[in-house]
């Protein structure tokens, strides 16, 4: 059984509980043991606009904590994943930055930064590490719905550094959906942003972005949306009613984390996957 250091960031363990529950429920079935990392903090990504040194320090800090346990890292939040991969890359390419930040980590918190670990996201963990074949073997209850895949900006961009899927034509989530019995097609709005980062400065614009995307998906007759980023969950599910009000449209679109969908296909219990926390989920399971 391979052990992975689980780094959840801030948004998943404080509000998007369904993502965390389904991750904890399904990953052990694929021979992965998730180790909760002590002492972790925010990844720094929300502070990019305030101070890039703070952002890189916080990412490097969490990397160093995981490395101190000799573990590779599993980061299910796309924003955290980007910040951590970006920091590894920037510190690798700049001696000055690496020296400055490693010295601060050592002096202030006695942490050793190396930057040599593997960092997985839900998408590449399922598709590349576990693989479609192993997922197919676990399917007991094929889902049989037509699913719109929402990747999230930070899951796929930017391709100068390693991302879980391709920037312009991501398809790993569709492949996983097909493996668990579902259907999925491309749609023109697939790469559109959910608006989450704008909640900090322009709430109405943020909700408009989310509302327009969900409306477009609904108009294309999808049964549900699949996501792999907690900000997608916040904007498209938790705030779906607010988003609908903002754009003045009627929307009712179930949203699932990919890990929840895989869990449903594996015949896991609903309460173990946190399905009752998905506010827009109604009786699609019986469809």
């Amino acid at each position: 059984m391979k052990e992975l250091g689980l780094f959840l960031g801030c948004t998943i363990p404080t509000e998007q509980y369904g993502y965390e529950m389904s991750i904890r429920e399904i990953m052990p079935e694929f021979d992965l043991k998730l180790i909760d990392l002590d002492n972790v903090s925010c990844c720094g990504a929300p502070l990019r606009s305030i101070n890039l040194m703070m952002q890189m320090y916080l990412s490097a800090r969490n990397i160093a904590i995981c490395e101190s346990k000799n573990l590779d890292m599993y980061v299910p939040c796309s924003q955290c994943h980007l910040s951590i991969i970006e920091t590894i890359n920037r510190l690798k390419n700049s001696d000055k930055l690496r020296e400055k930040i490693s010295k601060k980590l050592k002096d202030a918190e006695d942490l050793d930064y190396k930057g040599n670990l593997e960092v997985y996201h839900t998408l590449d963990l399922l598709y590349d590490k576990i693989g479609i074949k192993s997922i197919k073997k676990k399917v007991k209850n094929p889902i049989n719905w037509n699913i719109a895949c929402h990747y999230g900006c930070h899951t796929v961009r930017y391709s100068d550094i390693k991302r879980p899927d391709r920037a312009e034509h991501p398809n790993k989530m569709e492949e996983i959906i097909k493996a668990i019995g579902g259907k999925s097609q491309d749609y023109s709005e697939k790469l559109n942003c959910c608006g989450a980062p704008l909640m900090i400065t322009h709430k109405d614009s943020a909700l408009t972005k989310a509302g327009e995307k969900i409306k477009a998906i609904q108009d294309r007759n999808f049964d549900a949306i699949s996501i792999v980023c907690p900000f997608g969950g916040r904007m498209m599910d938790s705030k779906q009613k607010m988003a609908a009000d903002t754009i003045g449209e009627k929307i009712n679109m179930p949203v699932f984390y990919l890990t929840q969908l895989v869990g449903i296909a594996m015949d896991k219990k609903e309460d173990k996957l946190g399905l009752n926390l998905n506010l827009m989920y109604e009786d699609i399971v019986d469809k």
């Binding site: 404080t14 965390e20 002590d38 903090s41 925010c42 502070l47 606009s49 202030a108 961009r157």
Partner: protein
């Protein structure tokens, strides 16, 4: 950057020193010089903040190239960026308007001005708890109150020595990239 231009709105002149500092900071994080921008506007055509907020990354690039950095810092536009990274992904010159805007926003903040929106709260929460927020009580679809404990989730991890964490992160507030 070009010389000899005057901004006729406020009679300001290009600031060569600021431009050079910006180039240096961009270089440290591995981003090319703004000078290579040839104004194709591909960044703006893909920009997620263009339709609703009229953010035009290519016009910010044009002001920066001409050395009008202070004007960019003062503009509200820089706070409209969603951070979707489409401009960086699609720039044929491999320049990064999004990272340039992050640096310019950092300069705005370090000049001591009021930070817009909820950024101040985010920062304060991280300094005092290590995370942007503490675990919330939420309602499920049947309006039943749920929290980590009632859902069977383990306690959330946080910095062990919170005082030392706060001190360390606060010290970074005065650090620039160079």
């Amino acid at each position: 950057m070009s010389n000899g231009i005057t901004d006729l709105f406020n009679m300001s002149k290009p600031d060569k020193k600021r431009y050079n500092d910006l180039e240096k900071e961009l270089e440290i994080i591995g981003i090319k010089t703004p000078n290579i921008c040839y104004q194709c506007s591909k960044c703006t055509s893909g920009c997620e903040a263009m339709k609703l907020l009229e953010l035009k990354p290519h016009s910010i690039m044009a002001s920066v190239k001409d050395g009008f950095i202070d004007e960019v810092i003062q503009s509200d536009e820089i706070w409209d960026c969603v951070g979707c990274y489409k401009c960086l992904e699609r720039c044929p010159q491999e320049m990064s308007p999004v990272d340039l805007m992050y640096i310019v926003k950092n300069w705005y903040v370090s000049s001591g001005k009021q930070i817009p929106g909820d950024y101040q709260i985010l920062l304060q929460n991280i300094l005092s708890t290590g995370h942007v927020q503490t675990p919330l009580d939420i309602n499920d679809k049947n309006n039943k109150n749920c929290n980590r404990k009632s859902l069977g989730l383990p306690e959330m991890k946080k910095p062990i020595d919170q005082q030392n964490f706060t001190k360390t992160i606060s010290e970074l507030a005065i650090e620039g990239l160079i």
